[in-house]
Amino acid sequence: MAEITLEGVTKRFPDGSLAVKDVDLDIADGEFVILVGPSGCGKSTTLNMIAGLEDITEGTLRIGDQVVNQLAPKERDVAMVFQSYALYPHMSVRENMGFPLRLAKVDKATINSKVEEAARILDLTEHLDRKPANLSGGQRQRVAMGRAIVRDPKAFLMDEPLSNLDAKLRVQMRTQISRLQRRLGTTTVYVTHDQTEAMTLGDRVVVMRQGVVQQIGTPAQLYDLPRNLFVAGFIGSPAMNFLNATLEGGVLRSPLGDLPLEDRTRQALERQNAPREVIVGLRPEAFEDAALSARPSQGGPVFTANVDVLESLGSDAYVYFTAEGGSATTAELEELAADSGLRDTGSEVQQIVARLDAATRAREGAPVELLVDMAKAHVFDPATGANLTHPERQS
């Protein structure tokens, strides 16, 4: 077990394209860190560099106290779980799991006891003598995990280990991985493109985009205090709503109507010389059914929305409506839309979603009065994507 440190780690491919740029990251001993981002953001390349499967162009990588830039994978003592599991098809489960130990010239008896111990933990005991081809997807995934844990390595590296499983199994395995990691206390770096996985699994999450780290923080920090438009849009499901707005004397003129800023926010924006044209970000839970609100008068601005679609989940109700005034577009938002496939739905108008209490009276096709909690509003600079309301900028 060990801490992993990346200092200015950069990966440039032979054709000159930059896959990973100047990543600084301190991973504490026993920590569970997630690298997340859309495809092509450099997260897998970063993981491969830690594993030693790809060369580091610039920067320093330490595992424990040792600089490992020049070490071959076998000398780094890390275990990796691949998306395809990469099980050896010609070996039984037992041989697959024992393979790293066999290479390390551990004696047979020890290999056997370690493999059986791992099999017991992963509930694979009865499958030990089968070949991978005869296992289900979930079992194969567990064998891949088993092969990683038998070695008791300094760190686990996992490259989208759950994305080949179906949705239900994925949720189950997620909790199992989380429990296993806590029990073993092994430093883990985990790559995924699924923000839900990132939020539920990680002690800390690293959001990457186009090879650059956007923000590092706990899931709560990323959710509540995104540093920029990209993180704000990437984290959270349903995603944050973005609206074009104009800043005029402490009031945001938005397609939803005039939204008065809180004093703290207004001062922060003034101090930073915020541009006139901004983007407002409101998470679905920033809205409230005015009819159900305990304090309708002082809660914040109220507006009327015409409900297009109502999704009742029992615990909550999601209300979808459109706002006139065009949707906010920036490079970041375009990329996010492309990544989630939203762009293909062909809608031109701004679709807004609000999460309301299940008791709401809202009905499809009927208007509903909604209250906006301005304390939860974020204001972004469309040019830089920076969150102007982030506390680091306010102080």
């Binding site: 990966k11 032979p14 394209s17 859309p38 495809s39 092509g40 390349t45 994305s163 080949n164």
Partner: protein, 317 residues
């Protein structure tokens, strides 16, 4: 492969960028990889060139000589006159049309039969293994052996098939009947290969597409002609190309069945006879070169006509 579909417009993943490196300056690693690739291929390339390019070049040289093996000392450069002699000879054109006939007819029959066989192997559930095995046997058998079997079968007073014909008939001694028997032997031997290629193509037709066509109201016939065949087109073209070029070279079956007598000789038989019976190396080489050119034209026509579907084009990466 378990690549996720890349959403349109997203920046290409690093792997894709890596592939484009040929144009840019090469890193040391890439150059090393290049060198290793060439190094590993070079023995095979050298051998292939040595055993084909060199002899064919030598054949061209010989074809420009008057070269009778009985009088090697009198060998002499005669320019293109051998070509003139061959191309104005009725023997060449006779053999050429016979070869085209055998090629065209046998490949056409093989395609139809092979498709039927492929459908049988694809659809049948019961006894599938035995059918597949049986079908491989003609492929595995030495052509000469099969040819002898057919020859004996059609020889009067020896063969079971000759017995079925009116007595006194000897089908292998008449041009047309003999040609059809040659086609039969050829079809028997190579239909399995055709069927296997087509079967592999059939397996590429997604089951769901067929179900969709069924729901859309297509009859079995329509499903075959409108859905299965178009989707199989690449496999069919590859199979046709392989078999056409192979059939054009036909030699073994004719040699055993008729020895090319009764005007049943193919161009390969003609070349062989000129070399080993007439001992005329110059004319024999001329025929060799002409056959090479003919095969080249057929291959070129296929590639031109079907472009991207031609074999070799699918070797991506």
């Amino acid at each position: 492969m378990s690549m996720q579909a890349e959403p349109a417009g997203a920046p290409p993943p690093p792997e894709a960028k890596q592939a484009g490196q040929d144009r840019a300056a090469l890193s040391a690693g890439a150059r090393q990889e290049r060198r290793l690739g060439w190094l590993l291929c070079s023995p095979a390339v050298i051998v292939m060139l040595a055993v084909t390019a060199y002899p064919i070049g030598y054949a061209v040289y010989l074809s420009l000589q008057r070269y009778d093996l009985r009088f090697p000392a009198q060998a002499k450069f005669v320019g293109l006159s051998n070509y003139g002699a061959v191309l104005s000879s009725t023997f060449w054109w006779q053999a050429f049309w016979v070869t085209l006939f055998i090629t065209g007819v046998s490949v056409a029959i093989e395609l139809v039969l092979g498709m039927g066989l492929a459908l049988v192997m694809h659809r049948t559930i019961f006894g599938r293994g035995s059918v597949r095995t049986a079908v491989l046997i003609p492929y595995g058998i030495v052509t000469v052996v099969a040819a002898f079997s057919w020859q004996y079968a059609w020889t009067p007073q020896l063969g079971y098939l000759a017995e079925l014909l009116p007595s006194g008939s000897a089908p292998l001694t008449h041009q047309w009947s003999a040609l059809w028997l040659i086609v039969l032997a050829e079809v028997w031997k190579t239909t399995p290969f055709m069927a296997l290629l087509l079967l592999a193509g059939l397996a590429l037709v997604p089951e769901e597409t067929l179900k969709a066509a069924m729901v859309d109201g297509a009859t079995a016939r329509q499903r075959f002609f409108k859905v299965v065949l178009p989707l199989m087109k690449p496999a069919i073209l590859v199979a046709l190309l392989f078999r056409t070029l192979d059939a054009f070279r036909i030699f073994d079956n004719i040699y055993i069945l008729t020895s090319g007598a009764h005007e049943t000789g193919s161009v390969s038989i003609l070349g062989y006879d000129n070399l080993f019976t007439a001992l005329n190396l110059g004319i024999g080489s001329t025929i060799s070169v002409l056959i090479f050119i003919a095969v080249g034209i057929i291959a070129f026509a296929f590639v031109k006509l079907f472009g991207a579907a031609a074999p070799g084009a699918e070797v991506k990466r």
